[in-house]
């Protein structure tokens, strides 16, 4: 067990090193000089060279690489070309928005997905099963950005129920404490008795969370169903039924527990994907998170920001995957010996 954990954690460092290296060379070898981006196309040659020297871009590639490595280890990604702010500060200020969105999407996807999957598996070949599995298939076949816009058309434009974007109504002025607005809204409510901030945060969350959560929901529902069907075939379930255990106990206590093993892995992997998938959802809903920020950085070829953004998102992705692997080994003893 400890050997497995050590081995798996040990693999983390070469992977992260690889990610950091790959990002450096991708950007270093890509066309377009950062100095030209900052100064504009019409800047004269001397100014470009001067700025290159300031940015350290006149040094040989391997020297730049070593400097870059030293800085990245200290989480120093330089300053954004566009805003002049430190990249790490920009990321820090936007990360809570993305995490909050990802968590809510994932809660929605997991709860609904597992529920639909269990119902489909227990009522196999019923109309309900066909409808939900066809729905799940639609869910994975849909372009997320389109779904977001269709939801806006239905719920914001026509029914006028939910806001089209942003995290909070502009008429609410409040000082965020945690930067997780729903949590902040609750804190605000306990302090002042005003529920408005909280409700505003929740209503702003619904459409983006549904949009971002649809694909994971569909995937989780499909996995839960097939995993449940597999478990329900096992002998111990037949025995439990034979000795007269109530059906709900068979399903939820005996079957679901074992069926959830692969589901948990999928939930973890999907959560990692969500952080990157947020690029599209955040752009559509003007959600001020790291995805939208990274998209604008890419658009304006803001190299330090792109570097920082990719490294942070990929690192989170790698860490989440590691966590999922370890969790899986804890709850599934079979894997430890392998």
């Amino acid at each position: 067990m400890y050997k497995f954990i050590l081995k798996r954690v040990g693999m983390l460092f070469p992977t992260l090193f690889g990610v950091i290296t790959l990002v450096f060379f991708m950007l270093a070898l890509s066309p377009g000089e950062p100095a030209r981006v900052i100064l504009g196309e019409r800047a004269n040659k001397e100014a470009v060279e001067k700025l290159n020297a300031e940015l350290g871009l006149d040094k040989p590639m391997h020297v730049q690489y070593v400097i870059y490595l030293k800085k990245v280890v200290q989480l120093d990604f330089g300053r954004s070309i566009k805003t002049g702010q430190r990249v790490i500060d920009e990321i820090k200020s936007r990360f809570p928005a993305t995490i909050e969105l990802a968590i809510f999407s994932m809660i929605l996807a997991s709860v609904a997905g597992i529920f639909i999957g269990v119902i489909s598996a227990t009522k196999r070949y019923s109309l309900l099963d066909y409808v939900s599995m066809f729905g799940a298939l639609f869910g994975v076949s849909m372009p997320v950005f389109w779904l977001g816009l269709v939801l806006i058309i239905i719920f914001s434009v026509n029914l006028n129920l939910l806001p089209t974007g942003g995290r909070m109504d502009i008429r609410y002025y409040f000082v965020p404490i945690t930067n997780f607005y729903i949590l902040d809204g609750l804190i605000h409510f306990f302090k002042s008795g005003d529920l408005g901030v909280f409700l505003s945060a929740v209503t702003h969350m619904i459409l983006p969370a549904v949009t971002l959560g649809t694909i994971p929901l569909a995937i989780i529902a499909r996995i839960t169903r097939s995993s449940m069907l597999e478990v329900l075939k096992q002998d111990y379930i037949k025995t439990a039924r034979a000795i007269g255990t109530p059906e709900h106990k068979v399903i939820f206590k005996y079957a679901l527990r074992n069926a959830l093993l692969p589901v948990i892995t999928v939930i973890g992997l999907q959560f990692g994907m969500l952080l990157a998938g947020a690029i599209l959802t955040e752009t559509i809903f003007a959600w001020p998170g790291i995805g939208k920020w990274l998209y604008h950085a890419i658009e304006s070829r803001d190299f330090p920001a792109i570097q920082g953004g990719i490294i942070v998102i990929s690192t989170c992705f790698v860490l989440i995957n590691l966590f999922v692997d370890l969790l899986y080994s804890v709850i599934n003893p079979k894997i430890r010996t392998e």
């Binding site: 991708m26 890509s30 298939l137 076949s141 849909m142 372009p143 990719i310």
Partner: protein, 296 residues
Amino acid sequence: MSFLKLFKSENVANNSESIWYENWQLLKKNKSAMFGLYIIIFFVLIAIFAPVVAPFDPYAQNIDIRKLPFFSWPYILGTDDFGRDILSRIIYGARISLVIGFISVSISLIFGSFIGLISGFYGGWIDKISMRIIDIMLAFPYILLTIVIVALLGPTLLNAMIAIGIARLPQYARIMRASVLAEKAAEYVEAEKSLGVGNVELMFRSILPNCLAPIIVQATLGVGSAIIESAALSFLGLGAQPPTPEWGLMIASAREFVSSAWWIVTFPGIAILFVVLGFNLLGDGIRDVLDPRLKD
């Protein structure tokens, strides 16, 4: 030796023919897979015969008929903000999306399978190095990897295809490597080795055909996701550029009119949904036939 080889390869040829036929018979019985196949055939036909089927020129602008609503005869699905017929643009868009889907999957299929085959077959340091690189590529969420590659190469359709192809390549390499490792231990490989069959022949003629099943499944499902991803790239301005009738781009350019002209956004999305649904249904069906273990 030559006799034995002849005997074996003939046998294999007969067998594999009948296996493909048998699989096709099984697949034909799967209604949803067939439904998926019909959807794909429908879109392929539309794409091929676009100039015949499309009622109007997809590029023709007409200021007098801007944003005509859905069902304004003869513009069945309405017109966009430049007065272009949406139905015609969707029909021409099928060409672009299908081509992107097939080409980007071919890129990941060919290069990914090759890497997987080589590293699984030779093992040793070749395997170690290539799997390390694959691991690093998998450490990026692929959506992010795609966006970054295309942003660096420059926003064109061709680069979008290349980016999608590269970002999805690790999956194919992994699947191929796993099947090669399993296949390499089989007795027929040992037998051929002892008969002095060369490595290249062994890899491509004996092992590769037996490793194709999971790759075919992955590729069928992959066309659908490649179509969605390319539309997403165009939506972000990183793929097709105006005035190309690309579905993702059509959705993006109509974003500002969601409140006044819903049909411009909605119909290209439905087209994407159905094509991708077709590939997913067919892919699931093929998986059930080729790998019954995965069937629930």
